[in-house]
Amino acid sequence: MTKPAYQSATVTETPALRVEGLGKRFGGLEILKDLSFTIAKGERRAFIGPNGAGKSTLFNMIAGDLAPSCGEVTYFGENISRVPGYQRVRKGMVRTFQKNNLLNELTVQDNLLLVLQMKAGLEHVWYRPRLAKHFPDIYERADRLLETWGLADRRNAVVKNLSYGEQRQVEILLGIATEPRILLLDEPTAGMSNSETQYILRLLQQLPKDLTLLIIEHDMDVVFGLADRVTVLHNGGILLEGDPQAIQTDPRVYEIYFGQEGVL
């Protein structure tokens, strides 16, 4: 059996992400307790677990949208625990949202151009309208991305007029357009039809191999179609971690999903 790229790398290589003792409490309520794990560069790691396990809270803290109560996050060897979220994005740690979180009154293209203009370092240009004739590069890049993601004919549609599935595609596309080194996908296919899910899965499988992917997902087709390793969260802690086959056959995973008593 051939090993995935991330496992064949030398042990000394800096991990893409290291989470150490990360915890979050709201008052007396402990949402996440003392989470630690390491993710190698290029790894595709899925996080599964029942609702309320703390998956989204974990992503919020890794992305910097929520301050942890304790613990540290290290990104390619750099401690980013106190770096604000928008700067983490600039370093290449990008997230998508579980619920569509888009600029609803703007067109698909304008949503995308806001990402691309920053990647091109144009965000402080104030004296020239952002038209295709002035900034052809970002418009071409937008065209290519929209074509790859099957949204080319929706380019001038206002986001709020798109179907839910299309909005979901835009949500993921905005993350990818940022050209991240680590991409956190929070339930990318939530609420999508089966065929839409398959379509998204194929696109995600085609992402560059050196992109590290963290994904929260309930759809097991997506989890097993994408992940190298799976972490199971339960009650704010890590229940187990392993490759997809091992997780699939582990009785404890069945127990937490189907609600048997006295598991932990």
């Binding site: 992305a63 949208d65 604000p84 979220g85 928008y86 700067q87 994005v89 600039r90 990008v94 997230r95 949202f97 979180n101 888009l102 600029l103 609803n104 009154e105 703007l106 304008d110 151009l113 806001l114 990402v115 203009q117 920053m118 144009l122 965000e123 402080h124 240009v125 104030w126 004296y127 020239r128 309208p129 952002r130 038209l131 900034f135 905005l174 940022t178």
Partner: protein, 326 residues
């Protein structure tokens, strides 16, 4: 071409505005000048309210700071236009920088209350510092601005042209700015600040940029108003002035370039006409405002689309318009 149409339209409008002092009385020219000044003021607040989504109830602070600074400089230091105008601009930029720094740490309702609180603090300072600002009596005897050769802009038409030139510069600058990559960031913040952050934008920084810019342009409007009146009243910095300019923005159409200018024209004309008949003109402005908010929430510029829709409903269906062929 859409942009060609806009160019032709603006050129025609500017030419018409240039003719005003030659074709009408000093009284009417004065009203037009006041409309242009409040047009600049409303357009500056619109940058905050309409484009960045930050509703401020303290924008008169910067109008007032601009007016008092330019007037004090004109009275005590130099009546030179550039010296006094640029002093007014700089001090209002600094004031907006300080106020914006604090206000942009909170959002929504708290932002609104903080802008109100800061503007009332500035008002209190102006009101109490009577030796400098004239306190309740205001600042009178502001000299008319002079140009480099010592030529004073003392006729109503020369002042009108100064105001018109600045109006055109501000509007052209704003049109360029709001469509630029930087201006589009502000629109993005209005739409969804969380998403802008997760795109990597330091939204607080851009909100400060918007606040400072709005304050600076508001300061220019204030300076022009003091030249125009030859007098600054503490009313110009009071919160009712902030409310009035906010009403101009909303009645005209927030988030559009020309809407606030139409709103300013509407309020100035209403005020001039009605106040000559009754003291209750605020009542009428209030009623108009309520009607606008309920029936035409997009403001005066929204009237066009309302009219177009109803015209479409009435007109027989056209299969092919002859223009579309050419």
């Amino acid at each position: 071409m859409e942009s060609q149409k806009i160019k032709t339209g603006s050129l025609a409008a500017v030419l018409l505005l240039c003719l005003v002092p030659f074709l009408s009385s000093d009284y009417f020219t004065g009203i037009m000048a006041e409309i242009l000044i409040f047009g600049i003021f409303a357009a500056s607040l619109n940058l905050l309210v309409g484009y960045t989504g930050l509703v401020s109830l303290g924008h008169a602070a910067f109008f007032g700071v601009g007016a008092y600074t330019s007037s004090l400089v004109a009275i005590h230091l130099s009546a030179n236009l550039f010296v006094s105008l640029i002093s007014g601009l700089l001090v209002s930029l600094v004031a907006a920088g300080i106020v914006g720094f604090f206000c942009n740490r909170v959002s929504g309702f708290y932002f609104l209350m903080l802008t109100l609180a800061f503007s009332q603090m500035i008002y209190a300072l102006v009101y109490r510092w009577g030796s400098l600002t004239g306190g309740d009596n205001g600042l009178s005897g502001v000299p008319k601005p002079t140009l480099a050769g010592g030529v004073a802009l003392d006729s109503s038409s020369s002042l009108y042209f100064l105001i018109l030139i600045l109006f055109v510069l501000v509007m052209a600058g704003l049109r360029l700015f709001v469509r630029s990559p930087l201006g589009q960031i502000l629109v993005g913040i209005r739409e969804n600040e969380t998403r802008m952050k997760s795109m990597g934008y330091n939204t607080t920084f851009y909100k400060n940029v918007s606040f400072v810019l709005a304050g600076g342009i508001g300061g220019i409007a204030g300076a022009l108003y003091s030249y125009f009146n030859g007098f600054v009243s503490p009313k110009d910095i009071y919160w009712t002035m902030s409310g009035e300019v906010l009403i101009m923005v909303l009645i005209g159409g927030a988030g559009t370039l020309l809407g606030p200018v139409f709103g300013a024209a509407f309020i100035v004309i209403l005020e001039t006409i009605i106040s000559s008949y009754t003291d209750l003109w605020m009542l009428i402005v209030g009623t108009t405002f309520i009607l606008f908010v309920i029936f035409i929430p997009k403001g005066i510029v929204g009237l066009e689309s309302v009219w177009r829709k109803s015209a479409k409903a009435r007109a027989p269906v056209q299969t092919e318009s002859p223009e579309s062929v050419s």
